[in-house]
């Protein structure tokens, strides 16, 4: 019974949260806190901050969290299934229609008209993410610049432009730099030297790895030609 309730509740969340992300928050709050009382309001706020700190859609994150709390792992699976079922049905239908009709002149017109729109939507999300990373707020506050993050962002953009790596390396690498600087700030003199030594070894290793791979790829290209 509780599983069915979980399923139906997250089914509604999945069905009515168009636009994803924060559009889903009031719906989740209504179902989980107000209607069913599965979480208190402060637990719900915790879930949002955890969801922000972890990868993945906020709806899937909260479905897993609430499901586990109410009915263990089975609950998590049932709640997540409910949450993604409407997407699965509707988007699969749209995927079918897209593949079938994308060559039609009108569809071509609509889709090519939407491409600059989507780039602008990504840019808008990107502007929010950038401000949040550099100023720790959604507005520009010049007296509150996070210089460490400014440096990481600049280095990340430079690395993407020059080496064109998989972006996962940049995101993971930024996290590693953050951890390194955290430990560096919280260690004594000798530990600092050891940490810096370790960082140099890791960087040299990565550099050597990159160099060797690059040479191998160049070699493959020459052989292929």
């Amino acid at each position: 019974m509780i599983l069915l309730k979980l399923f139906l509740s997250f089914l509604q969340i999945g069905l009515f949260s168009i636009g994803g992300g924060y559009a889903a928050l009031p719906l989740i709050q209504n179902q989980v806190v107000d209607v069913h009382g599965w979480l208190t309001l402060s637990e719900f706020v915790d879930v949002i901050s955890i969801a922000e700190m972890t990868p993945g859609p906020i709806a899937v994150n909260s479905a897993t969290f609430v499901g586990i709390k109410i009915a263990g792992v089975v609950g998590a699976i049932v709640a997540t299934a409910g949450c993604i079922l409407p997407s699965c049905v509707i988007v699969l239908l749209l995927a079918y229609l897209y593949q079938k009709y994308k060559k039609m002149t009108v569809m071509q017109g609509v889709l090519s008209g939407l491409r600059p729109t989507v780039v602008a939507l990504i840019a808008s999300a990107g502007a929010s993410i950038l401000l949040l990373a550099l100023f720790d707020s959604e507005s520009i506050a010049l007296n509150d610049v996070d210089w460490q993050n400014v440096a990481i962002t600049a280095a990340g953009i430079a690395a993407l432009r020059i080496f064109d790596p998989n972006p996962i390396w940049v995101i993971g690498g930024a996290g590693a730099v953050g951890l390194f600087l955290y430990f560096l700030g919280n260690s004594s003199g000798l530990e600092k030297i050891l940490l810096i030594g370790l960082a140099i070894v890791v960087l040299a290793g990565l550099g050597a790895f990159y160099f060797l791979r690059r040479r191998k790829q160049d070699g493959d290209k020459t052989n292929g030609a």
Binding site: P55, A59, I90, P116, L160, I171
Partner: protein, 191 residues
Amino acid sequence: MEMKPQKNKLLKLFTSTMLISAFTFGGGYVIVPLMKKKFVDELHWLNEEETLDFVAIAQSSPGAVAVNASILLGYRIAGFPGALVAILGTILPPMVILSILSLFYMEFKESPAVNAVLGAMRAGVAAVIVNVVFSMGGNILAEKDVVSVVVMAAVFAAVYFFKVNIILVILLCAAIGIIRTYVRLRKEAGK
């Protein structure tokens, strides 16, 4: 023998979507640079236009953008089984991570080391998304189509500064696309 390439493709799709999902911090749009690199640049399974089409459709449908985009991607690459595999790859990382975290989420939330890592990762995500906006925006500018450029600037201003409803914006831009196609066809018929 016939089955093998399909099986390999599904496996590759599964591992790729899982890796991408594990790094989609900061909202559904972050999936775009990750998807573009893996499926457009490395595997050549899609082109850049398709990635943008997927985002437009994913954004206009119910549910999470990242899940919707992975359904479209999976279906395009390997039909219905592909869609199932892509969904599974996309939801597994957040499910596993959240399941483990639910056991000790207060310690996680308040750990200064965790916050240091996540704060820095935010900067990494910012770099990745700024980079993809410049390369995709550059491609739109290179088409030298005035309407596209005006649409791009207007949509950015409407959504970022004026917080206009995104669904409304997409419907309006789709309508502009239909009108432009109609005008173009009329012109061609007139010649």
